[in-house]
Amino acid sequence: MRDDHFSSTWVVCPAYNESSAIVSVITRLRQAGHDVVVVDDGSSDDTRQLASTLATAVVSHPVNLGQGAALKTGIDFALAQGADVIVTFDTDGQHRDSDIPRLLDALVRNQADFALGSRFLSEPLNMPRMRRILLWGATLFTVATTGLRLTDTHNGLRAMTRRGAQALRLRQNRMAHASELLAEIARSQLRYVEVPVTIDYTTYSLAKGQRTGDFVMILLDLLAGKLYR
């Protein structure tokens, strides 16, 4: 849908064992007036119970499948609810709900189908040097493999129109989904735009986030995905 307003915006929050962060994240999103679907990815703590008291809807994977799978489930759910725009938002507290209106504005102003958050267009806060180097490598890899001109390729904060969401074919369950999503955006040939967003690096979000070794697994997953139809 391309219009000057969106009547139904859903925020998709994939969550796996996020009981210590989820309450504040969902509360803030709800206070900002967003419809929130939490996708509980088979958590073993009380993430689902906490989310069900706060979120608009909770979808629960019976087993842990990975963040990519959770995002896809959330996007499918939001589409089924008639969402015009879908925002993906990490549940570990690293994103700011105040960045969401900027993404929605960017969609409308640029007549784009994807608005991708970039921490490098604004000043990143407390970003560890190793993380910066890894993300730089990931960006080079994405530019080389997809041709997209981006500054931040592994940012969980994005907004997409209904048409954009429907164009995505997501098959990577684990961390390789971020690269796959960008490859799908390139394949769809729909318009995308990057928007500066702020990432709050906390001890908690860093512990939950990707580790150096994960990047090797991401590359292997992407390679295996290419070998098989």
């Binding site: 996708v39 629960s60 019976p62 504005d105 970039s118």
Partner: protein
């Protein structure tokens, strides 16, 4: 001679398997076919294997054939890994269907529905940046 026939039969099975896999993964088929055809050749012309083995710095032709078998095993291993991935994709679809079938949003909590009753769009692009917001700096 018995060993040659037995090995040829096994390689024939590998070829059949590779052919059957073509639709699912052409790369696996091409690799399996190449490796097993090379295997065929060396099984029936072991002296050539010895010559090639010496050429690439391996002592005996028998050793070279052993290595070819090791290669086939690796290709089969790769194929098994890829098959496991396919199985996992099916599991994902199943889990997703179950999750979505069990999810029932509470209509009273859906902001867009509540606001539809008052016919006010929840989000509207203002002419300029909204209060507390900078102008769009998108790339």
């Amino acid at each position: 001679m018995i060993a040659q026939i037995a090995l040829s039969l096994l390689l024939g099975v590998v070829l059949l398997y590779a052919w059957a896999q073509y639709r699912r993964s052409p790369i696996v088929t091409v690799l399996s076919c190449a490796v097993s055809l090379i295997g065929f050749y060396f099984v029936w012309f072991p002296s050539h294997a010895t010559r090639v083995a010496e050429l690439v710095g391996i002592g005996r032709g028998a050793d070279l054939i052993l290595y070819v078998w090791a290669c086939i095993s690796l290709v089969v291993l790769l194929n098994l890994h890829l098959k496991l991935r396919t199985q996992h994709e099916l599991l994902t679809q199943l889990a997703r269907s179950i999750a979505l079938a069990n999810a029932t949003p509470d209509p009273s909590r859906i902001s867009s529905l509540t606001e539809a009753q008052t016919s006010q769009p929840r989000y509207r692009l203002a002419d300029g940046p909204r209060p507390g917001q900078t102008a769009d700096q998108s790339a």
